[in-house]
Symmetry: C2
Subunit: 200 residues, 2 copies
Amino acid sequence: MSPRRSAAEALLTRARILGRAAEIASAEGLEGLTIGRLAEELEMSKSGVHKHFGTKSVLQISTVDKAFVDFWRQFVEPALGERPGLHRLRVLCDNSVRYLAEPLLPGGCLLTAALSEYDGRPGEVRDAVVGAWSRWRDQLRADLEIAVEQGEVPEGFDVEQALFEILAAGFALNAAMQVEHDEAAAGRARRAMERALNQS
Amino acid sequence: MSPRRSAAEALLTRARILGRAAEIASAEGLEGLTIGRLAEELEMSKSGVHKHFGTKSVLQISTVDKAFVDFWRQFVEPALGERPGLHRLRVLCDNSVRYLAEPLLPGGCLLTAALSEYDGRPGEVRDAVVGAWSRWRDQLRADLEIAVEQGEVPEGFDVEQALFEILAAGFALNAAMQVEHDEAAAGRARRAMERALNQS
DNA sequence: ATCAATAGCGAACGTGCGTACGCTATTCTT
DNA sequence: AAGAATAGCGTACGCACGTTCGCTATTGAT
């Protein structure tokens, strides 16, 4: 039927697979993502899907990477031009709230779900998830530290405490949206993050 | 081999199954929990395990119930004798931090993990998870409202905002413990919860 | 003493999983 | 123009899953 596509087409196919994979995994989990279902929904053969990755865990890792890159491109990179420190941090927080309140994926933030799914399962998939998560956290921490250096926060400001509370608000927002579609949660998350920065 | 136990023994068997089920599910997820593995680890037959529940989803729901009841008995009920309002709320918060920092189960809080696992999958399992979760949240909210009535919190205190931030700290604590065994996270969670109550 | 009820076992089932292999027809290199 | 490389398909494999069925031997009620 469809014997061989060009190398360029193959890249498109791969992207198509990962796009659908991210959608499925965001709702059903990375473990609920199966090659058979993927093949069916994309109207191609199981072996055709399989060949692009060679292994289930490579598919899972690639899906995590894709979701993270999409998030980064759309919600982090646009902020990188802002003035580093407290200002850029506020932009990043606001972007992440928008991302969690109106996710790119039907099942919400794939990274958040995968972190919970794999926190107790050592392996390469877990490493990929934790790695992506750390990149995001390190970005926030970097701006927090710049804010301290620039004296934009009060004396004795606790960077790790603020980081904890910002991430906490993100977790809670994600849960509120996914579990009960709580429209008021975005506002609460914003307020919680702002309070984390105005540490008393 | 083991033909028929007494009704009393059967209850013990059921409890033994659910105990191990909660351990497995806390680490591998409610979906990663399988009857075959359960049977193997308990050294009984698959059909023997199966018969106690009749259906996989009943097993999952029973496991959620068991984990919730254990948490409730050990960390909520002992606090119910405390003076209602802000004081009891503080005890509950402290208890929940201890629970999340040193969980009963090897993979951390089963309820938190299950909430994330099932937030995008409608069905009876999800209903059970959300139901348990709501009971906990309602308990916290009840004391927050009592605190407001008793004037223990400042004028204009936002109950839902405080609730959001308390739960947020719990999520973040759970993640910090499970993902990177961050020993400092408990202190940060306590501080975050306290700040949620001292709403400015 | 009798006898229905049942805890747990053993074997089997259909299904869906990840994976392996060979094939075909096109693309890309030379 | 010729030939190596390969995208994707079709088929098949072994395995683990949840579930079903019949059996056995004890329990607990009559």
